[in-house]
């Protein structure tokens, strides 16, 4: 038989090795292995693994670990004398547990549901935290790997993950600190074309110009090619397996040629093993750094100290023994030498590789703080689920007082009883774990797309996850089971058998109240947070931005666009039916892309102290986006910088009283190459997200900077219009890929993080409410059991149902109000802090709180009402008889 490549789970094999008697070990392992292989080929890997575990479970029997009988000491039928079976008592416990759980189905269901929900959240959170902590931890000597980053000190500090391009080179040449220094310039979504005779295939993929040392610093192994030389010569490239398969299918990629930007040809000289998911490096194509000057002469030159481009990063592995402060001490020398006149001061710093993933100032995707918050939430969910379990289990304890009495009379010790109830808890928590695992596996794909991660579950090889689940199970069992176990084991047999157990012997009523208050406070905080976020998002999406964002298509221009090409394309598209206005520009009024500039105003000798965002755009910009003029007139159509439009923020920052005063003043920008007078002032519009203030803006006709066509269309027949536009565009750029986006969609992307947070908080508030409701149910059951007699007496003495119900209502109203009194200020404080991230924000009004309070009351009512009513409607004869 052909044997498959899979091996049975190692930990399971070890388990068997450990428990099996030595003379059976080899045989059993061999049998299991053989069966596993057969099943792998027949059923696939997963079922084979499960069946492997099943077989192991079925193997468990005293015969598995019993040593071989020694012939001298025992008669030959020795096997018939076995010691007392330790499993017998345990199996009795299990049987009793199963019966008990079966007869209290609601109780079992609630407990398992609560625990399972808490645990599946905990498992997912554990996986997420571990996933993030594992980022880029697989490089050799990673404690010596650093990224050089820039702090720009102006009015406030600006953090940049990149450095001026020449820095890496001079640092490598001047100092011996770095064992390896590598610069890498990454261009996302680059145009890659494959030419095969007449056939032309186009792709958009990330590409990076990398110095060879990059692969010396980072542990990304090559499957083919030599990493020391693969990128040395100009025109060489390394691609990942994934890209190789995408471009060249099954063919050997080595020696194949592709084109970047239809401009530079690269020959593949190496194939990278696919990059691990837990790396921030996602680029699939690496090309020789020597070719950078053909693409961006400025970036590749040795004196591009003037500015920082985000694409350029510099990594360094220091020699052993070199300290960070030693290195950072030499950086200011470069600033002095190469940037003597610039006003904004660069401070270059070393950032440890381990921080790259976590420092959001430098675009790290996940902050450590958030992982902590998540862990705490997970812990809280588990803790409340346990607490609820304790509540319900002790409320249940009464029903079992007779059983405990009988067991004690028959000689059961305290310890035995305790372990019995613990094993019962074990049954529940095991069931909960299994459900939680299934749930976690089901939610995982959703969580992955939600957090933009690629986590995967493999229970059989993932020892850390397994031990986490095991430990979780043990801890939950002990936490949840030990208190009810102790309470039950403490029962006095005489009192228990006589049915004279009083609630006082169980006690802890106030602890329960406190738990409920905490649970409700947290639910309410989450609800308030949710409502505030929803309101702010609605405000951000619906508020007037100062320009039209509806029905505008942003169409990027192709590469190598000549002035003539642009003009004809614009006029062709304007002629299409359904197109209302067209403007050539650098970016939309609100965009994450901005070209910030220091300008000189009105022939002053000093730069102004604030950055100005220069938006290159033609004369149709204002009408296309519906911007309004506050003073002056629109710019005239032309190709070079002749006139400026500025916004009101610009005039305000220069302390003009009215916009009118700025008209006619001269601006010099882009190092003095763009000089022109201001002819008009537009009313303020939001040029960034609501997180940021409105910047000073200057609009001018500067056609080298045009990169998109903004097209205002009539939405009535948008499909035909779109295809006509696509046709016109593709005719102009046959070798490039047509992509367009509606402006309102790209503006909605400003708030991606918030949207994500909103969803997360929705999920957590649902879970918190659910678990809180379970806790409430536990408390009401407990109260009902405690007050059986009180209710009976009240009814006998003539109390109406409503009066008696109020016993419960009073209790819960008080608890919710207390919870609210705690939650409201905390939520207000937290959400107010959150809103501070927005320069334009809503007010948190009182309705939010009223809504929250009302909804928690409603939830509590739904949870409690039925159980309370059942308690109240009980026949007093029954409740009072047993005295």
């Amino acid at each position: 038989m052909k044997s498959s490549n899979y091996l049975p789970p190692r930990w399971a094999e070890r388990l068997i090795e450990r428990i099996a008697a030595p003379h059976l070990r080899e045989e059993i392992l061999g049998d299991l292995f053989e069966l596993f292989q057969q099943r792998c080929t027949r059923l696939g890997r997963m079922p084979a693994q499960w069946l492997y575990l099943l077989d192991i479970m079925l193997l468990i029997h005293p015969r598995l670990w019993r040593r071989i009988a020694e012939p001298g000491r025992l008669p030959h039928y020795s096997a018939d004398f076995s010691k007392s079976n330790p499993i017998a008592m345990l199996s009795n416990y299990m049987k009793v547990a199963a019966r008990n759980l079966k007869s209290n189905k609601a109780y079992t269901l609630i407990n398992i549901a609560g625990l399972a929900l808490g645990m599946s959240c905990a498992i997912l959170i554990f996986m997420l935290v571990r996933y993030h902590l594992s980022f880029d931890n697989f490089h050799a000597d990673s404690d010596r790997i650093y990224r050089i980053v820039t702090e720009q000190h102006r009015d406030n500090i600006d953090y940049q993950r990149s450095v001026p391009a020449p820095l890496g080179k001079v640092f490598r040449n001047d100092y011996t600190f770095g064992e390896k220094v590598a610069r890498i310039a990454t261009f996302e979504e680059s145009l890659i074309t494959l030419k095969n005779g007449k056939e032309l295939r186009k792709f958009k993929d990330d590409l990076a110009f990398a110095e060879s040392d990059f692969f010396e610093i980072f542990n990304f192994p090559l499957l083919q090619g030599n990493k020391a030389t693969a990128l040395e010569a100009p025109g060489t490239a390394i691609i990942t397996e994934k890209i190789a398969e995408k471009y060249f299918a099954q063919e050997n990629p080595i020696g194949k040629v592709f084109w970047f930007d239809n401009k530079i040809a690269f020959t593949v000289t190496g194939v990278l093993k696919n990059l691990p998911e837990n790396s921030d490096r996602k680029t699939g194509i690496y090309v020789s750094y020597n070719n950078l000057k053909a693409f961006s002469p400025w970036l590749a030159s040795d004196d591009s100290w003037g500015g920082i481009q985000d694409v350029m990063q510099c990594f360094v592995r220091l020699r052993p023994g070199v300290t960070v402060s030693q290195v950072e001490k030499v950086f200011p020398g470069y600033v002095k030498r190469y940037r003597p006149t610039n006003k904004n001061v660069h401070h270059y710093k070393l950032q440890q590789l381990a921080d790259v993933h976590f420092d959001s100032r430098y675009d790290g995707p996940m902050e450590r703080r958030n992982l902590w918050i998540l862990s705490v939430i997970g812990l809280f969910l588990i803790a409340t689920a346990c607490a609820n379990f304790v509540n319900l289990a002790t409320a249940q304890a009464f029903k079992r007082s007779k059983e405990v009495g009988v067991r004690k009379v028959l000689g059961g010790g305290k310890g035995q009883l305790f372990w019995q109830f613990l094993s019962e808890t074990l049954v529940i928590s095991t069931a909960a774990i299994i459900i939680a695992l299934v749930l976690a596996c089901l939610i995982l794909p959703i969580a992955n797309s939600f957090f933009d991660t690629k986590m995967s579950v493999n229970l059989f090889s993932d020892r850390l996850l397994l031990s986490f689940i095991l430990i979780l199970g043990i801890i939950v069992t002990f936490f949840a089971g030990s208190y009810p176990g102790l309470v039950l084991a403490r029962f006095q047999p005489i009192a228990a058998l006589k049915g004279k157990m009083s609630q006082a012997s169980i006690g802890g009523f106030n602890t329960r109240r406190i738990l409920i208050v905490i649970q409700f406070a947290i639910s309410q905080i989450l609800i308030i947070g949710m409502v505030v976020i929803i309101n702010q998002m609605r405000y951000a999406n619906q508020a007037n931005l100062g320009f039209d964002k509806e029905a505008i298509i942003m169409l990027p221009l192709g590469i190598d666009s000549t002035n003539v090409k642009l003009k004809t394309l614009k006029s062709e598209i304007s002629a299409i039916a359904g197109v209302e206005k067209v403007s050539l520009c650098f970016s939309a009024p609100a965009s994450s892309e901005a070209w910030n500039n220091s300008i000189w105003f009105d022939n002053q000798s000093e730069e102004v102290s604030f950055p100005t965002s220069i938006k290159a755009a033609d004369a149709d910009y204002i009408t296309t986006f519906g911007l309004e003029l506050a003073a002056g007139r629109n710019i005239f159509p032309t190709d070079s910088v002749r006139e400026f439009l500025v916004n009101e923020a610009f005039t305000r920052k220069l302390n003009f009283k009215t916009p009118q005063e700025a008209i006619g003043k001269v601006i010099a920008a882009n190092g003095g190459t763009m000089v022109a007078p201001i002819v008009g002032v537009v009313k303020d519009f939001h040029d960034r997200s609501f997180h940021e203030d409105i910047n000073a803006i200057a609009i001018t006709t500067f056609n080298p900077n045009y990169s998109v066509l903004a097209i205002k269309v009539n939405l009535a027949n948008v499909k035909n219009t779109m295809s006509a536009i696509e046709k016109a565009w593709t005719a102009k750029y046959p070798d490039q890929i047509f992509e367009s986006q509606f402006l309102d969609e790209s503006i909605a992307r400003f708030y991606e993080t918030e949207e994500r947070m909103l969803k997360l908080i929705q999920v957590f508030s649902f879970v918190a409410i659910f678990i809180g409701a379970l806790g409430l149910y536990g408390l009401v059951s407990f109260m009902a059991a405690q007050k059986t007699k009180e209710i009976g007496i009240r009814k006998v003495l003539g109390g109406s149902i409503f009066e008696v119900l109020w016993i419960f209502g009073k209790e819960f109203s008080a608890l919710i109000l207390i919870a609210f009194a705690i939650a409201a200020p905390i939520a207000w404080w937290v959400m107010n802090g959150w809103l501070q991230d927005f320069k334009f924000q809503i007010k948190i009004d009182v309705w939010v709180f009223i809504l929250t309070l009302a909804s928690t009351f409603l939830i509590a009512l739904i949870t409690v009402f039925y159980r309370a009513l059942k308690a109240v409607r009980m026949d007093p004869v029954k409740s009072l008889r047993s005295e």
Partner: protein, 109 residues
Amino acid sequence: MKGTQLGEFEEVVLLSIAMLYDDAYSVAILEALNKRLGRPVSLGVVHRTMQRLEEKKMVKSRFGEASAERGGRRKRLYIITMAGEHALREARRVRNELWDGISETAFGN
């Protein structure tokens, strides 16, 4: 004597060992039983039964060759002893006698 009694499952296991003759080891027996009994039989049950049979001296075992499909582990090959053969024949004899004693009308209901 107790040693000569065979349980129902012991009997089928012993018979499969006899049938497989030269290649009687646990996985082969397991397959044979699964096919013939029409109910899933677990490895654990087969193992325990064979241990019991060996203790009753009805089978003998020796190690076979190691092979890759068993992850480099040896098989334990079983062979029936005289006592085993005797017990099987005894069991068959008893059954045959009982069958012979059943009258035609016994199944007529």
